[in-house]
């Protein structure tokens, strides 16, 4: 499945009203570790269709970063039924990200 690009217009619909668990990758183009995270997030999107995988460019969407108290990137956030159920900060291997949904 493809990675959904989020902005403040579609965030509510795509994340908070989603009918399955959602992974949100908060990233920026100038962040090295975020670049390392990108292929991991793509792989999760391909291998786990039961999770909706999305990303937020915090340069373009600073309000979303602020709304979720993101103060360090990359931040991986897990949502279920409209609630934030866990976050991980910094580069994480695939298993660590999937553990957020355990």
């Amino acid at each position: 499945m493809a990675v959904t690009v989020l902005n403040k217009e579609n965030f509510k619909e795509e994340v908070l009203k989603a009918d399955k668990p959602v992974l949100v990758d908060f990233w920026a183009t100038w962040c090295g570790p975020c670049r390392m995270m990108a292929p991991v997030v793509e792989t999760i999107a391909e291998e786990h269709p039961e999770i909706k995988v999305c990303k937020v460019d915090i340069d373009e969407n600073p309000e979303l970063a602020q709304l979720f108290n993101v103060m360090s990137i990359p931040t991986l956030a897990a949502f279920k039924d409209g609630q934030l159920i866990g976050t991980a900060v910094g580069y994480q291997p695939k298993e660590n990200v999937l553990k957020l949904f355990a």
């Binding site: 090295g32 570790p33 670049r35 979720f68 108290n69 993101v70 103060m71 990137i73 580069y91």
Partner: protein, 294 residues
């Protein structure tokens, strides 16, 4: 751009240098000296020693052997490691100079654990950061503190200056080891806790409590104690770290293409023999990587 930069001149770094050099690469070792090996008084369990030697002797012999093969050496404390602007190659910074290389071997030894300051671990990502260049963006117009006392702390503080409204240096009880510019307010008291407040139902850093009982309001704390260690570099560049050690493949590659790790920084047996083995593997892998880039 250089072929390979090796950070660290202990057994892992030197071994990597020997093997990479003999595989045809140009190799530069950047080291600040003063690693773990020199602290060993007597080494009698390393292969090939008819008589025990001191750690310092073994280290010096290692460096001499590498110089003999044409490995270049640069003295300096590495304070920054990043992928360079076009993401092809690495930028390695010391307080006085910047270097660029196609591949880097991290052999800077094991990192001391983070200080046991209440709130430090819990608030990571919620105002506590280990990378100024990664997170300065989030503190634009805000008040931040850097925890540290040396070149590394100063380097991180200087990255924050153009972004933050106010940058302070908390030396946690030590005298600053370097000259701090007037634009950075220095606090020498020991930090006893990182305090938090709740906003939108989420916690974030609100201040630093020091031993004199005072509470200094801050929005962010950047940890940069002592010298930057292998794990600090790994975090900045996005290399996987687990239990304070860098995660490496059998060929000592990290998840960052062109970045290898060897020696105490990858954990396991903290012995010369392991460091030398990993250095050799890393050196060969780095040389092969560079050859494939040409």
């Amino acid at each position: 751009m250089m072929d390979i930069i090796i950070i660290g001149s202990g057994p892992a770094g030197i071994s990597a240098a020997l093997y990479a050099r003999r595989a045809g690469a140009e190799v530069t070792v950047i080291s600040r000296g003063g690693g773990a090996l020199a602290k060993a008084e007597k080494i009698e369990n390393y292969y090939g020693l008819a008589e025990p030697v001191t750690g310092a002797e073994l280290e010096a012999n290692g460096i001499a052997g590498a110089k003999r093969l044409g490995v270049q050496f640069a003295e300096g404390e590495v304070v920054g490691l990043a992928m360079n602007d076009d993401f092809a190659g690495f930028a390695v910074q010391t307080p006085k100079q910047s270097y660029e290389a196609k591949a880097v071997v991290l052999a800077a030894g094991s990192t001391r654990l983070a200080p046991k300051i209440p709130g430090l671990k819990e608030l990571e990502g919620k105002g506590v950061s280990y990378c100024a260049i990664c997170d300065a963006f989030f503190y634009r117009g805000k008040t931040v503190a850097v925890l540290g006392e040396g070149d590394y702390a100063l380097h991180e503080a200087e990255i924050l200056l153009p972004h933050a409204d106010k940058v302070m240096l908390f030396t946690d009880g030590k005298e600053p080891a370097v000259k701090i510019p007037d634009s950075i307010e220095v606090h020498k008291e020991k930090v006893t806790a990182v305090e938090a407040e709740k906003a939108n139902g989420m916690e974030r850093v609100s201040g630093l409590r020091t031993e004199d009982g005072a509470l200094t309001p801050v929005n962010g704390l950047f940890v940069a104690l002592g010298t930057a260690g292998s794990v600090d570099f790994a975090r900045k560049i996005g290399a996987a770290v687990e239990n304070n050690r860098i995660v490496a493949e059998p060929d000592m590659a990290t998840n960052v293409p062109g970045l290898y790790a060897a020696g105490d920084c990858t954990g396991g047996l903290l012995q010369v023999v392991k460091a030398a083995y990993e250095g050799a593997v890393a050196g060969l892998a780095a040389a092969k990587y560079v050859k494939n880039q040409k």
